[in-house]
Symmetry: C2
Subunit: 209 residues, 2 copies
């Protein structure tokens, strides 16, 4: 393997091993020793790639952040109505998190930095704003029931997604997160959508037709 490929593979192995630990234990309780044991690397080899445990965590947080940006763009290009796009993104996020420990760890690390650390700008409020923009757009198109508050819908969906992730993560390593998130969507959207709205085109690859 050329040296550059080998360096890339080692960096990925470190990210994956660290993700396994961060996902289970969170940032504070993850030890560099445990990460090294998983990879079989020496401390020296580790420090060649990352200056610290924090730098690995930063890389994982960065990676999930890039993925969400790409996912939003992909769904935008599909040209669905905003609530169908939102449904699709929530479902796809859960599917990906159930399948990918690197993503799961990045999401946990990002959320742990925010919830419970007052004073840090709160990621969850940013998510609520982002989701609310879709729901506002739905309201403008007449897809919401009269009287429904788009920001309140965003708060409910984001709260339920956070709670589902935490419970699913603690109990099944997110294996039942896809099912839980679809339950949430199925229990909330009928209450807030107008009679004319219908879910379209938001099935992800993992869903049975």
């Amino acid at each position: 393997m050329p040296q550059q490929d080998r360096a890339y593979a080692t960096r990925e192995a470190i990210l994956h091993a660290a993700a396994e630990e961060f996902d289970r234990l969170g940032y504070e309780r993850t030890s560099l020793t445990a990460v090294l044991a998983r990879t079989g690397l020496t401390k020296g080899a580790f420090y060649f790639h990352f200056p610290s445990k924090e730098a690995v965590a930063d890389a994982l947080v960065e990676r999930q952040s890039e993925l969400w940006a790409r996912m939003r763009e992909t769904w935008r290009l599909r040209g669905l109505d905003p609530l169908s796009a939102l449904h699709g993104m929530f479902a796809e996020s859960a599917d990906r998190m159930a399948a990918d420990v690197v993503l799961r760890a990045g999401v946990r690390l990002n959320a742990d930095r925010e919830v419970g650390y007052p004073g840090v700008p709160n990621t969850h409020l940013l998510w609520e704003k982002l989701v609310a923009a879709y729901v506002f757009e739905a309201a403008e198109r007449g897809d919401l029931r009269p009287g429904v508050d788009p920001e309140a819908v965003a708060r409910t969906l984001c709260s339920a997604a956070l709670g589902s992730r935490l419970i699913s993560s603690a109990t099944t390593a997110c294996a039942d997160f896809p099912e839980r998130i679809r339950e949430v969507l199925g229990h909330v959207l009928p209450s807030v959508t107008s009679a004319g709205w219908k879910l379209s085109g938001s099935q992800t690859a993992s869903e049975t037709p």
Copy 2:
């Protein structure tokens, strides 16, 4: 003040001061020194009442657990239909948590012990079971829409309540938890209830009539 009353007052002052710290920082990052500084007590006086930080946390967890048991009993005695009782209990819980740091800390400590500590029997799954029992009872009475899965409804409500509490706690010290929990109920119950069900008698004292 008789000695027994003074001992009781000191114990309560410790619980309250510790709750202020636990509520903001969680168990790990709360220091006994900060708790003592809040109360003005010496270490000796503290240890007269509690053998350790853990013992204070245990007392706070115990207190919230007793409160929920009393609240369930109170709502049971009101003889409402199960979904109205559930609505009332969720709303009252949020109202109490917004008003009472001792309760809030107990709930946080209890939940922190569970979520993210795989292997510990999970409080959230117990809550889901408890909530599901009410929803099953509602199904038997015909209060649910045909095809709605009571356990799935319980999962959605418990997830949304957990997520709401965490976001509300991190952003407003639970001040907006009462509003958030009512939004959740208002967004979920219409999707899952039959046309004949109507919320009854579940307004709590804090709600405007």
